[in-house]
Symmetry: C2
Subunit: 918 residues, 2 copies
């Protein structure tokens, strides 16, 4: 079929047909056809490639004829002649498939050079050294790619000459050296191939085309496609692009440069780039000459600068996107060699998105879609100054994002004391943290622990507070008693400054500069567009009024998860909670609860008022109560020390280091004096023993699956009763103050509708009591967490009792995989990810195939019973873009996530709607 078209000029190829012309070829066609001055050229199709390979490396009939015809056209367009000794046409030969396969296939530059055209080059540039340098490069590249000669054959003579001349860098070689090298290279080719280097440019072209086509079935390319799962539907064969070489180094009317259509660092709408007169692209890269800012060109080459400005406008108009492009000016003619979407930081992306809309270049939808939701994180947390060059000292899990630096302190009491004393920024460094350390969190910039995972106490609390945290940095050995930590040979003492990056998990010695978070006006504008388009509502997880304030700033539309147990953590409350836990009788417990009630009620009043008129979902006590107690080992250590103290106290020496154990918190000097009395030691021992007994009684083999959530609420109904009363009384108080509030009571760990019915009865009773005493009827909803697999299986029955569902995907993921998160992340998940058994960490990316499938079933069963059922998600996945996409796809009503992730979630929710519409 001699008529089959294998070759397309850049003027005629379809710029959208990447499958036929490859990505690069199609792009060159598009650029040419929108009127950019691209150096003329043409593309051999991927069909030719496949036929070549199928025919055992034989070019289809007609290809070379068509190539020759196009070469003749190039000669006409450029006025140069292929192989001419005075004004030679040189071309580049490049591969290019439909999918980018960087470095996987081959490029030959300056094809057409031989002994004759070399002279033409010298004539044209007046630069003999440049010409020989280009010549020897061409011989090696052609020798390697088209003739299959290994680089090492060229390296040996090349290095020998450099050594002889005492030259370290290539640029130190003289013209004579390069002449000699060129001759040596020609000899290498002769020796390796048994024949002279091909002088005929068309023979060169023929060999180069075949080499590029053949590279598609080469090992490198085949491996690459396998590795990255590139299927024939995505890319099938490579095209060959043959393009006129243009040169920016043929005189002072020549130049070369790179530019962005706007400032990629800030997004500002100014022309941004660099250029060099009489130079080639390599010179910019090599850094031998310092390029000039593009603005200077306006004076130096005003006409060409005007053309460049036109090019800039044309590019943005056509591509509706900031462009990063390369240009060359050859003898006063501006060529655009390449253009692509400009890579920018998030701040710039956001600013340009908003401005491009204002300029009418893109729609709001396009503005939203061009920003990856996850990338907003850069703007929402402080981060290390990107240019800071530092070596990390230790690495842990990136448990709560953001960067901070401060003075190390090893316990919460001293943190409070030091903050009060000098106000300097602090980093709390502990083996692990407990609720009793919570006052230390409040005064510290960030938390660092040597044990525990991303769901450890430290991690979860820090995330809730929006403070950076690195957890489980197991290279650090903490010696609290000595107020010292060891990282390898490095010793960190109290007061030493460290910096940590909770986004990467890195820990640095000393102060590394940080960059503050920026919540710009442009971001607000963009997110307001997102909210208009999103179907999912975005709520925040917030436990205390301060969290709620912050969540509002991030644009939260309510609170999807208020973990009431966090309210217990404040320093003045924990002792009451402890009292409640160690109570032997209902009366003792009720007494402690009675004291907690007004505190919780006040919290709720503040929370509801802050969020009015948005909903606030209050989850009743969830964790096993032993989580509020110190560990058994800690207590045993304390007791050993205390008993030892008792034994030695009658003597004169008292080990002061053991004293801090006495009260756990009050270790000021006066307190130490008071305690240096054996009666107090006895009392402390007794107290520790009581707690130890309780800790042992509460021991659970698998606390994650233990006595917690609604199970506690049913076995100790007085605890839930107190919390329910606090919610309803707070609601009444707000209503009476004229504040519209929408509290929602949410029950955790539910596995059967009977549990809901049981608690609902308590709610009803208390509601009637509160109505009677307050004189108004509290407005509220009653719903359930969906975090137990069985709850999902019984969604239809639960929907009869619950006004809303909220998926707790942290626990649901653990139960669905039978993975304990802490254990999995420490023991086998990394390997599972590494060997590809699991692509993602399911605790970070919602597992749509397993957990998600279960959720989808549950939503369906629930809505079968109650079609307008409100369904949300409040696990950490609620702030993860791909997971949000999935939540949208199964019809959830809202997602809830930590405050700082709310903007990310809002954008992701908009993406979900927009992509669904597509």
């Amino acid at each position: 079929m001699p008529d089959k078209k294998y070759v397309y000029s850049f003027n005629e190829g379809d710029g959208k047909n990447k499958m036929l012309l490859g990505g690069k070829g199609a792009n060159l066609c598009e650029m040419t056809q929108i009127g950019l001055n691209v150096p003329p050229g043409f593309t051999i199709t991927t069909e030719a490639c496949l036929e070549y390979i199928n025919a055992d490396n034989k070019l289809p009939d007609g290809v070379m004829e068509q190539v020759k015809a196009h070469m003749t056209e190039l000669e006409k367009k450029t006025g140069k002649v292929f192989g001419d000794a005075h004004n030679p046409l040189l071309v580049s030969v490049r591969s290019g498939s439909a999918m980018s396969m960087p470095g996987m296939m081959d490029t030959i530059l300056n094809l057409g050079m031989n002994k004759d055209t070399l002279q033409g080059e010298i004539e044209q540039t007046g630069d003999e050294r440049f010409a020989y340098d280009a010549y020897r490069r061409f011989i090696q590249l052609f020798g390697k790619i088209a003739l299959g000669i290994g680089d090492e054959h060229f390296d040996v003579p090349f290095e020998a000459i450099k050594k002889r001349e005492g030259v370290k860098e290539d640029v130190g070689l003289s013209t004579e050296n390069l002449k000699e090298i060129s001759q040596e290279f020609l000899d290498v080719v002769h020796a390796q191939t048994g024949r002279a280097f091909p002088e005929d440019p068309y023979e060169q072209l023929d060999l180069a085309i075949k080499a590029v086509l053949g590279s598609w079935s080469g090992k490198r390319a085949v491996d690459y496609r396998r590795e990255f799962n590139i299927t024939p539907e995505q890319a099938n064969g490579t095209a060959v692009n043959i393009c006129t070489m243009v040169f920016g180094n043929r005189g002072d009317d020549c130049a070369t440069g790179v530019a962005f259509t706007r400032n990629p660092g800030t997004g500002e709408n100014v022309f941004y780039g660099e250029y060099l007169v009489n130079a080639q692209g390599e010179d910019v890269v090599a850094g031998i000459r310092t390029p000039k800012p593009i603005a200077q060109m306006e004076k130096e080459m005003p006409d060409l600068y005007r053309q460049l400005e036109e090019l800039r406008a044309k590019l943005e108009k056509h591509y509706s996107e900031i462009q990063d492009f390369e240009f060359t000016i050859e003898k006063g003619t501006l060529y655009c060699l390449q253009t692509r979407n400009g890579k920018m930081n998030t701040q710039a992306m956001v600013r340009t998105s908003v401005e491009l809309v204002a300029e009418g270049l893109i729609s709001k939808e396009q503005a939203l879609l061009r920003i990856a939701p996850e990338s907003l994180e850069q703007m929402l947390f402080p981060r290390l100054e990107p240019t800071a060059k530092v070596q990390s000292l230790a690495t842990g899990l990136p448990a709560s994002p953001g960067a901070a630096c401060g003075h190390v302190v090893f316990d919460a009491d001293r943190a409070v004391a030091q903050k009060a004393a000098n106000g300097k920024p602090l980093i709390l460094l502990r083996e692990e943290t407990k609720p009793e350390d919570i006052h230390g969190f409040f005064v510290s910039e960030a938390i660092l622990t040597s044990r525990g995972g991303k769901t450890s106490h430290a991690a979860v609390v820090a995330r809730g507070m929006g403070k950076p945290c690195v957890a489980g940095a197991d290279g650090i050995e903490v010696d609290v008693m000595a107020r010292r930590a060891h990282i390898g040979d490095v010793v960190i003492k109290e007061g030493d400054i460290i910096t940590l990056d909770g986004t990467t998990g890195n820990v640095y010695l000393g102060a590394v500069p940080t960059v503050e978070a920026e919540f710009s006006d442009e971001l607000k504008t963009l997110l307001s567009w997102a909210d208009e388009r999103a179907r999912l509502k975005v709520m925040a997880n917030a436990d205390v009024p301060e969290d709620a304030e912050r969540a509002l700033k991030y644009g939260a539309m309510g609170i999807g998860l208020c973990r009431t147990e966090r309210m217990f953590n404040a320093a003045e409350r924990l002792p009451i909670v402890l009292e409640m836990i160690v109570s032997e009788t209902l009366e003792q417990r009720q007494d402690a609860l009675d004291r907690l009630l007004p505190i919780q009620r006040q919290d709720f009043i503040e929370l509801f008022t802050t969020m009015s008129p948005n909903p606030v979902t209050v989850r009743l006590l969830d964790p096993p109560i032993h989580e509020f107690l110190p560990s058994e080992n800690q207590l045993l250590d304390d007791l050993i020390q205390l008993r030892h103290l008792r034994d030695t106290m009658r003597g004169s020496e008292v080990l002061s280091s053991t004293l801090s154990l006495l009260s756990g918190r009050n270790t000021s000097q006066t307190r130490i004096q008071q305690l240096a009395d054996s009666a107090l030691v006895e009392e402390a021992i007794e107290k520790k023993e009581t707690i130890l007994k309780k800790v042992r009684a509460l021991f659970e083999v698998n606390p994650m699956l233990g006595h917690r959530g609604v199970r506690l609420g049913i076995t100790f109904p007085e605890i839930y009763a107190m919390q329910i009363r606090a919610v309803l009384e707070a609601a009444c108080a707000c209503q009476k103050a004229g504040t519209e509030v929408h509290p929602e009571i949410m029950i955790p760990q539910v596995c059967t509708s009977e549990e809901l019915i049981h608690i609902k009865k308590i709610v009803e009773t208390i509601k009637h009591e509160v109505e009677a005493s307050e004189g108004v009827s509290p407005v509220f909803k009653f719903g359930t967490m969906m975090e137990v697999v069985r709850a999902c299986m019984r969604a239809s029955q639960l929907a009869e009792e619950a006004e809303f569902f909220s998926f707790g995907t942290n626990d649901l993921t653990q139960a669905t995989f039978s993975f304990s998160r802490e254990d999995a992340e420490n023991k086998f998940l990394p390997m599972y990810n590494e060997v590809g058994i699991l692509r993602d960490n399911p605790f970070e990316v919602l597992d749509s195939n397993g957990v998600g499938k279960l959720m989808k079933l549950a939503v369906g069963w629930g809505r079968e019973k109650k079609p307008d059922l409100k369904v949300g998600i409040c696990g950490e996945h609620g702030g993860h873009p791909a997971s949000i996409m999935f939540c949208h796809s199964i019809g959830l009503t809202y997602v809830s996530c930590s405050g700082p992730r709310v903007p990310i979630a809002r954008l992701a929710a908009a993406h979900a709607s927009l992509l669904e519409a597509k």
Copy 2:
């Protein structure tokens, strides 16, 4: 509507219409109509009852007219006259609804008695005392039920007379006393109702009928129906049964008795019962006279005995079931008062089932269905002698069924030593057990622990071995060092005899007689019929060859679960396993595994050979490896003791009690001598420290959801590789010996098909190696446990890789409920059952609504991909009848359970098929 029929004679009522006539009424009609000589009577319908209640306690028109007509008929049939002073007709009036509501409604006997008929009674019986006794009883009963007079009004004068006469028992009252009491009672009625006791029999009857009808809406009955969820569809209104009184105490031609148509203790086809001449039913119950065995009647009353034999045959023929019936002979006439299906022990049920089939009285299907599968347990485990009257000392969880008695021993080493010394039966009593105690299990009759639940090590291992176990008897305080245990005030020392009942969880001091298990020929016959009808196959869980032998005896059709880790538990193997676990390098671990390989291979050869040609499903290592190590607390205690020993050793006193800690096992005198040397102590300390370090490194927050099963197999592939090689080499060895074997390799804790693919590659590699070295290709299947929720969700994908599924419903239930079994059973499950949140313990009864629903989905998805997929269950539910029913309903291929439950499962599987067909 005067024509409406409210009253049916026993001759005409429909014996099947319990809704209309009540259960008792219908039964009396049926008995009458099949020709039994029932005392004549009639029934007032439940319709009358409902109309009576709806009309505000007014009898429908016509009821009393119809009653009078039937009374006249009774007079004709009996030759007695209602209210007659010489030969009075007396009747009983009883309630009776469609559902049995024991004690909830009322009965009046001897209605028709008054001052006149009392004289007739005396005339008829010649027993004045009897007549007055009946009279005073009637006055009180009628007074109470028909007139609403509280018992206390009668009790006061009654007790006063007894006191005056110095009489303790009613039988001590004289005729005169009874006369006096009758008069006092008549006065009580007068005083309480304001009018004299009704002398008119028809007035008595009218009042009695109304009282019985009204009792349906009385508080007692309403409460009962609410408590037991009896709906109007099940029972609506009570009928009233009016029946002629007959008397066995009117002369020597009178008698009364109870009988079974066969021996209910053995099932033997002999007439079985007791009778008394000239007596009434109460006399038999009161125990004043000793009844005679029924056989004696053949001599005493040959004609009546013949009639009784006829009755016996007629009853069995009609009811196709062993009958338990009451009879009375009044003046030479035999009356059958009541008959019902005889309650028998299981042995008798089984024997009669088989014999009734042989006699053609029932079909094999009926024979199977009349035996509750669970009841077979009685025959399969030794049990306490049912007649033994003993008080339990402590109670724990019934962790492994069966009863045993023996001498208490507190550690495994001493158990072995004592068994070797005197061979006496032993009971191993420990706080909890560990794999290192396993040698103690082998030599003990039963295991008792003071801690742990039904899935504790002790429970699971004991069940596997078929030995009785009571676990978590937390009333027992064990002091191992002192070889003593305390139960309240009772001290149990080593060597003391105790008895425990693993079926109930009771522990007894001393030896309680036990009855051995009986696997009778009849049971074998019955189970062979079951196998013919069952669709489900029944496999056994068996870990070692001895288990397999036993399972075969129980009729297992293969091994559905062989837990390979159990093979590691034997005394000589555990040290190698320990070595493997504490290995620091792959080489060390491989070295230990190389020594385990031949041991496991030999186990498999024996197992496969024993079970040939049935399948043996081998589950690769499942539990987290720290389960093979001692606990941290244990090690810490040991170290404290050892260090103390080291410190004091230089002195002359060595505390011998601490020495037993040195090696953990070898504490013979010579060994103690050897060890009494500080270098050995140092070595022991070092060893313990190494293990402690490993224990800490392996610590998991939630071991149930931790690093176990296939996760271990992937992170330490050499362990699974050893096990796979052992299976495949064993298969080859058997095949070469001409033995047909069907091993199946099963992977635990799978959550994604990638895990299966990963292990499958290892299997394939080893298969090729084994083929090469053995010269034959091993026959085997490859499959997966379904015990992780995600596996169920991904069943379709798993089915692509697996040849079979096996549901591990123990773990699946934990994951579905998010209940840790040990924690749940200790902390909140009992309360959940108590308040009705969960009806059953889901670890005992498969939760069909939640776990079962998930299984059903998984089976569907799996078979969608692979229609002939073999699917089984190997959790403990596999031996539970209701759960087996469910497994049948969702189309499983087999169930697997512990050996002794195999017969139960076989019968349950047959029931499932038969009930489905119905």
